[in-house]
């Protein structure tokens, strides 16, 4: 199971082992998570009763889930009444095909894209690029990782594993001329480079932070202004939205906004809180002629109404990543998923139930509960991780894992047994050399392991 040099290890442990050896990565993750954790505390101290607000937010999220079909119906009816278009996608293939067809209809050659975890989840860029469309990631961090050919390593700071020197190299390769390893100069390079894309793109693509049922609005928050560009300049704006983004009304939106940026980056509000209610209207002087929202299920309806429903409460602030002793050591790429950290360890196995590699992420936790402590909507992430392990324990791989541990503890309880086991291990290693998997139960167990 050991991966060849240069390829990505297929297990969490393999990837974690790789990244734990990367000192620069670990320093960057430590710096970023410390800063964000500290800023969060300062920001929440700016509220009179942050914990009471978080308790209430949890109840409000549960209320939304209890009425999710009705709220989606109300929201979409109103959004369409304002002239917006709503598309319903059961899975990633339907969602990407919808976007591809909309882009084709515009004959757009360039798509300017704002940061969107949902579009990462459905691998939208691959589909559009295969269709001959240039997709430009316009968030600074997303632009960096797009040039590097990587995936985000943090929900709100996708490129924290890079530093000014690696960024300078990426930008120099992109621009064909040297770029100074200075953060201001690098931001200026990206600003100039991407401005042209904003002005020429036929379609802008964004995510959605919240959809407000009572006015048929969508709310997008961001700091750089690239989100405003993507949703204001191109003729067509397409937003990809996980179906659980609903809030009932502007009072609930107020509660969520009060918690989101404070928990994420420690700002009272992000720089741009955009509330969009349909396309440009008669009398407006600019704005897109068409606004489309693609509502995405992609495994979410299996979580709705299950013991794991609270995973859908997440408002994507990233606070649990910053608090997690596992994430803080290994960073985001070890999770091998769009969603990293505790929420990723819960969501990934739930969204990809057929994938055994996703299942092992529930093990990527110490169950310490630090994630629950910081979650703005108080998702009991450690409970959910434990329940996932319990569920997994009923499967072949889980039974094999328990049998393995029982065997080891019995053997290791005697000196002779311990000695025999290590010799057995050496023998096993010789036998296994050149084989990709062990037979029977042992093979199931080894699916999640590397041989010692």
């Amino acid at each position: 199971m050991t991966a060849a040099v240069g390829s990505t290890p297929v297990t969490f442990l393999g990837r974690a082992e790789r990244d734990l050896r990367d000192d620069r990565l670990r320093a960057a993750v430590r710096n970023a998570t410390n800063l964000m954790s500290g800023s969060r505390l300062d920001a929440l101290a700016g509220l009179e009763d942050p914990d009471g607000l978080r308790d209430a937010a949890r109840t409000l999220r549960a209320g939304v889930m209890a009425e999710l079909p009705e709220l989606l119906d109300e929201w979409s009816t109103r959004f369409e009444a304002h002239g917006g278009h709503v598309h319903w996608a059961a899975d990633a293939a339907e969602a990407t095909a919808t976007v591809r067809d909309l882009v084709r209809a515009q004959q757009a050659r360039t798509v300017a894209k704002g940061k969107s975890m949902a579009s990462e989840e459905i691998h939208l860029n691959d589909v559009l690029e295969a269709d001959g469309v240039e997709v430009v990631e316009t968030d600074l961090g997303e632009f960096i990782i797009q040039l590097a050919g990587e995936t985000p390593s943090h929900i709100i700071a996708p490129a924290i594993h890079h530093d000014r020197y690696t960024v300078a190299d990426l930008f120099a390769a992109d621009g064909g001329h040297p770029v100074e390893a200075d953060i201001g100069a690098e931001a200026a390079y990206a600003q100039v480079r991407l401005r042209e894309s904003f002005l020429s793109a036929g379609v802008g693509v964004s995510g959605v932070n919240f959809a407000v049922a009572d006015t048929g609005s969508i709310c997008l928050i961001e700091n750089e202004g690239n989100g405003r560009m993507c949703t204001s300049v191109p003729k067509v704006h397409i937003a990809i939205m996980g179906m659980e983004r609903m809030v009932r009304d502007w009072s609930e939106l107020d509660v969520m906004l009060g918690l989101l940026a404070r928990s994420a980056s420690g700002q009272a509000l992000s720089v741009y809180t955009n509330i969009i209610t349909g396309p440009r209207r008669p009398g407006d002087v600019d704005g897109p002629d068409e606004v489309h929202v693609v509502v995405l299920d992609n495994g979410r309806s299996r979580i709705l109404g299950s013991a794991f429903q609270e995973a859908l409460h997440c408002i994507r602030c990233g606070a649990c990543l910053n608090a997690c002793p596992v994430y803080r050591q290994v960073g985001g790429h070890a999770y091998g998923s769009v969603y990293a950290g505790p929420i990723g360890a819960v969501l990934t196995p739930l969204l990809h139930q057929e994938d055994p590699a996703a299942r092992e992420l529930a093990e990527a936790s110490t169950l310490c509960g630090a994630c629950w402590e910081v979650c703005p909507v108080r998702i009991p992430l450690h409970d959910l991780l434990l329940q996932l392990r319990q569920r997994d324990a009923g499967t072949d791989a889980g039974r094999a894992r328990r049998l393995g541990f029982t065997g080891w503890s019995w053997l290791w309880s005697t000196r002779a047994g311990f000695s025999a086991s290590t010799q057995l291990g050496r023998l096993g290693r010789r036998l296994a050399r050149g084989r990709t998997r062990l037979p029977g139960w042992a093979g199931k167990w080894a699916e999640g392991r590397e041989l010692p």
Binding site: A56, L72, L140, I276, G287
Partner: protein
């Protein structure tokens, strides 16, 4: 059945009465609670509190009177280069001859190419939020691009339109938009910024890196 009906039916099946109660009990909540900020300067007038929050974010405040608005705008944008302003608010703001070089680009008539050359953009704010230092702009009054494309954003704001907290705007939206929300409402909270490289703050990444408020006192 439409794709919407199929989609929602799947959810209705999933969210049915069989759903287990949450493992940890929920706090009882009648309606969404207020988001109440801690005020470091609770005795100060609301205008001063907003000024403080806006300045903490790096904003520049220019206090003026209704009669002097045009002159104050001219001072702020003077010597910078072309000024972008929405045709609908141009005369209301007195930006007929703003800037000592006199180059006023009127949006949208000037076209996107010209607008992209503007150094500053002047917009009329709908409201402002004291606890966060935000300025609220909407598409009923200003083009979206006027406060977005230029490097310098100038918000013209009446002190009477400052509200204490986000809830005073969002929960009382009818007072600001009696006919329902415009197609685009933006709460602008400071200059455009990014911390994406090494978590170090840079301003003016895509949106304006410099924000000014012309605050018209009552």
């Amino acid at each position: 059945m439409t794709t919407k009906e199929v989609f929602l039916r799947r959810l209705r099946t999933a969210a049915g009465p069989g759903a287990p109660p949450p493992h940890r009990p929920l706090a009882p909540v009648d309606r969404p609670p207020e988001v109440r900020p801690v005020w470091p300067d609770a005795a100060a007038p609301m205008t001063d509190r907003w000024v403080r929050s806006f300045e903490v974010l790096g904003g520049h405040v220019h206090r003026t009177t209704a009669e002097q608005v045009g002159a104050t705008i001219a001072e702020v944008v003077a010597g910078r280069g072309p000024v972008l302003v929405d045709e609908r608010v141009r005369h209301r703001l007195g930006t007929g001859d703003a800037g000592d070089d006199g180059q006023v680009l009127v949006w949208p008539g000037c076209g996107l190419g010209e607008a992209a050359t503007a150094v500053s953009g002047v917009v009329e704010a709908t409201a402002a939020i004291a606890s966060t230092g935000s300025v609220v702009v909407d598409s009923d009054r200003n083009g979206r691009l006027v406060s977005l494309l230029p490097r310098v954003a100038v918000f013209v704001l009446s002190a009477a339109d400052i509200v204490p907290a986000t809830g005073d705007l969002l929960r009382h939206r009818d007072e600001h938009w009696p006919d329902g929300p415009p197609s685009n409402v933006v709460l602008v909270t400071g200059p455009s910024r990014s911390g994406d490289i090494e978590m170090r703050l840079v301003v003016g990444v895509h949106g304006p890196g410099e924000v000014h408020a012309i605050l018209v006192d009552r």
